[in-house]
Symmetry: C2
């Protein structure tokens, strides 16, 4: 990746220097400048790396020593090892050619905020431990709530409030624990095994995991089946059927998670219907908008979270598609006392007058851990450095790129867009070749399981070949039995030219894979995955 | 805090510039250099700030606007606001005069590692998502395990393994969930309300909170009483009595947390006795060495964790006293499968060949959240930049400072060291004045509750006055009914001269407070807190 520092200024003066003190301001300054240049150079050259790491399991243990060094080593040398040993093992989430999972939305502003947070290094468990950490968080969460047009009941001024969690998994576990406490206070703790948690078969695994951790009976997590006809949304009707069956069986409906932009296919659950059903049964509704929440700051997308006024809590990941480096999950609740009731502890060593005055928020009672970083600095830095208007434009830019990509796919009869594209993620697949004149096959026409499996295997091979080449990176999902390739635009360095270049790569690989399938009809031996796909050609 | 940049190089060229793109390498470089200088200057001038923030609740909302800006604002302007609005609300955990709670152990090396981690911004939930993130973590955890002389069964080579969590709270919740799963698989999920978790009245609130979250019956968390005679350690005998009573009552002992260096007084539980009792009842033993674990890399301190070979899991906070910025908790388990059994999920969108090969670790199954930062970079950077020998010397330096402080206290008859000092934290209090010739009063001589309360109130006022002045910061605890002031050395910028300067401040305040108590005997009205203390003088 070239020299660590283009100017060579620091190299000549301080090369080979080891750190002498745990923290000396001038040592800090010199070495931190070096690392800034290292990272800036990394970004400049990032497109040169294979996007997905190409190493084999165990590669690093073969390169590094068995034990920690006795003596200090120069920072320059460590940075060289980062370049030589670590970078090959990195899957470059920051690459403009990265379209896998969901983006890891790092930005300059967030990096600056994170530097300040790391530099101040405060442990903001309660107000007194660093008032600015608590107060800035409350303020910024109100700012964001207003941008999202959340109902006033989610703002501090309306009796609710927002908190920064690390991840959606934590946000869901906290809200589930609050819901469980509320229910067991009424029914008694020994009824815990009767509580039921609902999501769909598209709901993020975070909900199932939170249920496991919170002691919900393993048999009482409902992944309600969704269908292509509803674009894989959880509907009010299907939720009602599940809830009523459980009630009839003597169980206690506790919690439902509605997702805005599922991980597999960015499906949008029918929030307005769901809050209606939940209200009938006194269930806690959490809205998981981890991916799509951020784009709802654009008025034209806001309707996707209509119904949120009937929910108890709402979260989205600012580190997913809101220009914040990992980690930064924004959670709002209508009833902070419910969170605190389930999560507060009050040891003597943390008692202080500010807490006793009840004029302050102690965020330790809103989360799993006691200690917490000063995360709001980066969110504040992002909101101020870019401003709401530009943030909306950046997000719209990503949606536009996804639309461009979708358009290219739709013009090519070899491809299918499998589910509707709502945001900046396109779920597509390669279709098996078919004789000229035969109409393009569509998802719901797939009756033959053998054909479906063959097409799935073909797409798996297709995707794996692209990722192994390293010019771009995408990942897959299976929705309604269909293997889809997910193209998630939204990388902070991705521009339309990258999307168009990705399309060229995709087409090349498609030609290669289709040629193999065509050839396979008349050849033995052939790769196992072509069996099903070849059947289509033969049929 | 003076200019943001001593050289003024960037200021003149780029002042007033707004960020144009979410992430442009050269914009990134310019602005990140500015922030490095901002933080280096902060460290240079840190001793000028009042250590504990002196703001009033709500101070920041009065200074900041009600909503996010529409348009971008220059980074320079935001940094000026950080200096003007944020810094006054910061309690300066990085100050050399900070002795509160436990240190927040930031270092140059850790900052550099954190920068790299933030810069790469990978989301390392599984191996394939960035192999280096997983592999470096496994390697560094083995390095650390060797420095701590943990039994081989905690290393990957011995069938165990280590993982980086954010905090001890998370580490404990994960191990508790694993223990609960193991127990309920045997007894059936409907027995969850019979499970019991044990700690002492000195155990960190993390254990109680983890129990709450994991659905342990609120009545089934045992905070076993400790005593001054045992230096507030949890003993095997007291644990056995509690466990046997629960078994007799038909309950199921599940989990015990043994602490090495409690938060209140750095007490050390009797680990060897505890693992013996736990083994008889098939309980999971977690060793919480959050504070004192790190110093056990020094051979002369290693005996404090003797008995760990009988435990199931062990954790310490590298962000507490091991030169890592928040957050970085090191957890080792003997049976990773128990963690994964309780915490794994396997959604289609995360399936990949590396996972299926079973040749790799997927750390998502070792923690609460799915997403995880590349934390091992900072730990690796710390271990390599300083080397094991210097790290031991740094830690010994902190212990030496605490000894110096303890010596100063012991030479002054107005003070008492309330509990034994094992590490770098000294728990002391100011004694009420007494007639000449009367022997210094000691802890266990305090029979009179009125006198004790008065002394407690006096120490509370004494501490509050020092923190309000801002030349240093300490916090308190109550052990065995006695209010103690905790002096936790270990700040990375603290040197012996700071400790000696702190002693001067403490003595000045002691004189003032004792004068008030003396005066109060003959004066009315007097502050409420002197009532008890004055009674000593009068008696």
């Amino acid at each position: 990746m070239g020299s660590l520092n283009d100017e060579g200024v620091f190299d000549s003066l301080f090369a080979g220097r080891c750190l002498q003190k745990p923290l000396d301001p001038e040592e800090f300054r010199r070495h931190a400048h070096k690392v800034v240049d290292f990272i800036a150079d990394y970004y400049k050259n990032i497109a040169e790396f294979p996007v997905r790491s190409q190493v084999e399991p165990g590669y690093l243990r073969r390169r590094l020593p068995d034990s920690a060094p006795h003596h200090p080593e120069p920072v320059d040398e460590i940075l060289r090892d980062v370049a030589d040993d670590i970078l090959p093992g990195i899957t470059h989430w920051m690459s403009p050619n990265y379209y896998a999972y969901f983006p890891s939305s790092g930005s300059t502003a967030a990096f600056l905020g994170e530097m300040l947070s790391t530099g101040f290094n405060v442990v903001g468990f309660n107000w007194i431990s660093s008032p600015a950490a608590t107060e800035l968080e409350s303020i910024v969460m109100d700012w964001l709530a207003k941008l999202l047009q959340l109902p006033p009941s989610f703002l501090f001024s309306g009796g609710g409030g927002g908190v920064l969690q690390g991840t959606t998994c934590e946000a869901i576990l906290c809200t589930l624990t609050a819901a469980r406490k509320r229910a067991l206070d009424r029914h008694g703790h020994d009824q815990i095994s009767r509580l039921v948690v609902y999501g769909s078969d598209q709901t993020h695994c975070a909900v199932q995991k939170a249920s496991q951790i919170a002691g919900i009976h393993p048999a009482n997590f409902r992944a309600i089946k969704t269908h292509h006809a509803n674009a894989f949304a959880l509907t009010g009707d299907s939720l009602r059927r599940a809830v009523e069956a459980d009630v009839a069986a003597g169980l206690l409906p506790l919690f439902v998670c509605a997702t805005i932009g599922t991980t597999s296919s960015t499906a949008v659950d029918r929030l307005q219907e769901i809050v209606g059903v939940a209200a009938e049964h006194g269930m806690w509704v959490h809205v998981d908008a981890a991916y799509a929440g951020s784009v709802c700051i654009c008025p034209e997308f806001r309707h996707f979270i209509n119904g949120v006024e009937g929910a108890d809590s709402f979260s989205f990941n600012a580190h997913k598609w809101f220009f914040n480096n990992l980690d930064c999950c924004c959670l709002w609740v209508k009833e902070p006392a419910a969170l605190a009731g389930a999560l507060s502890t009050n040891p003597e060593y943390l008692k202080n007058r500010a807490t006793e005055s009840k004029l302050v928020v102690d965020y330790k009672d809103w989360q799993i851990a006691l200690s917490r970083r000063f995360r709001s600095l980066k969110l504040w830095m992002v909101l101020r450095s870019y401003g709401a208007d530009n943030l909306r434009q950046f997000l719209r830019g990503h949606v536009r790129m996804a639309k461009v990509f979708e358009g290219l796919l739709r013009l090519d009869r070899r491809f299918e867009v499998v589910v509707p594209r709502y945001f900046a993620t396109v779920c597509f697949r390669l279709l098996p070749p078919r004789p000229r004149g035969v109409r393009k096959r569509h998802f719901d026409e797939e009756e033959n399981e053998g054909i479906l499996m063959g097409t799935n295997r073909m797409n798996q091979t297709f995707l794996e070949a692209m990722n192994a080449e390293g010019k771009l990176c995408m990942t897959h999902a299976i929705v309604g039995g269909v293997y889809v390739i997910r193209f998630a635009a939204g990388g902070t360095m991705t521009e339309e030219r990258h999307v168009r270049a990705a399309w060229v790569v995709i087409k090349e690989h498609a030609e290669r894979v289709l040629k193999e399938v065509n050839g396979a009809v008349n050849e033995v031996p052939r790769p196992a995955w072509v069996d099903g796909a070849a059947a289509v050609v033969a049929s």
